[in-house]
Amino acid sequence: MDDKNITRKFRHGLFVFIALIIIELAEYIIGVSVSSGNFIFMVLLAVPGSWLIVHYFMHIKELWLPPEE
């Protein structure tokens, strides 16, 4: 069908995924190497990570759009 669009959307998904992996790796490195007081880093990383999923994968924006029938 509309093959161009579907590849573009797939690529969007891939970018988000890569960003998530980077966040996860950063968390891991901080978590393993910083021996204490890393709680704040975890929050600072987990919140944007979850936001990426909620925004790009779960399309939370649809809640604010007018309902389509």
Binding site: M1, N5, I6, L14, N38, M42, L63
Partner: protein, 188 residues
């Protein structure tokens, strides 16, 4: 006595209604996971035992993120009516999810030796991973149903609420893990 049709004509068909219902449900579940995570900090602060299998934790987190990507691709595919890509992606989601569950099982097996359920960290660890794994399991069952319904030709680019709902739930399970993973494995 009368028979009446299962679905009410205009109720239960509107997409935004189902979406809002699902979001309210997700909001509700957020509080469950919030309580779980707060419990960890209340009981144990940010202490963590030395015997956590860190590499395994990282691997299963990445596996779960990959499954989320596959689920996303599956939803996009069905919205473009690409049944083949839809099926491949959702099936790989299921496979990745089962890898995740195997990883959790492995972790449980190890955990029994170092921090059994009758220790404070063990209590938290088994409860958090257990409740999360239960959500993964229900999500997997839903995904399997979705694959079956897809192969019956129930979804097309105009009507694919089943896929959308299940995938959304799946992403939510992933979001929960994004918080559970550092809470259990990484904070110190």
């Amino acid at each position: 006595m009368s028979t009446h049709s299962e679905t009410n004509t205009h109720i239960g068909n509107s997409l935004s209604l189902k979406r809002i219902g699902l979001w309210v449900f997700i909001l509700s579940e957020t509080f469950l996971f919030g309580a779980l995570i707060s419990t960890r900090y209340y009981l144990q602060g940010v202490e963590r035992p030395d015997h956590l299998n860190q590499p395994l934790g990282l691997v299963i987190s990445i596996v779960l993120l990959m499954s989320s990507l596959a689920a996303y691709r599956g939803e996009v595919a069905v919205s473009y009516n690409d049944q083949k890509k839809f099926r491949i992606n959702i099936i790989s989601t299921i496979i990745l999810a089962s890898i995740f569950l195997v990883g959790v099982g492995w972790e449980w097996y190890e955990a029994f030796q170092y921090f059994p359920p009758s220790s404070a960290f063990g209590t938290i660890f088994f409860t958090m991973t257990g409740i999360h794994a239960f959500h993964v399991l229900t999500g997997m069952i839903a995904l399997i149903i979705i694959v079956k319904m897809g192969s019956d030709g129930r979804f097309n680019s105009n009507s694919y609420w089943g896929v959308e709902g299940v995938v959304k739930y799946w992403h939510f399970v992933d979001v929960a893990w994004v918080f559970i993973y550092p809470t259990l494995y990484l904070v110190n």
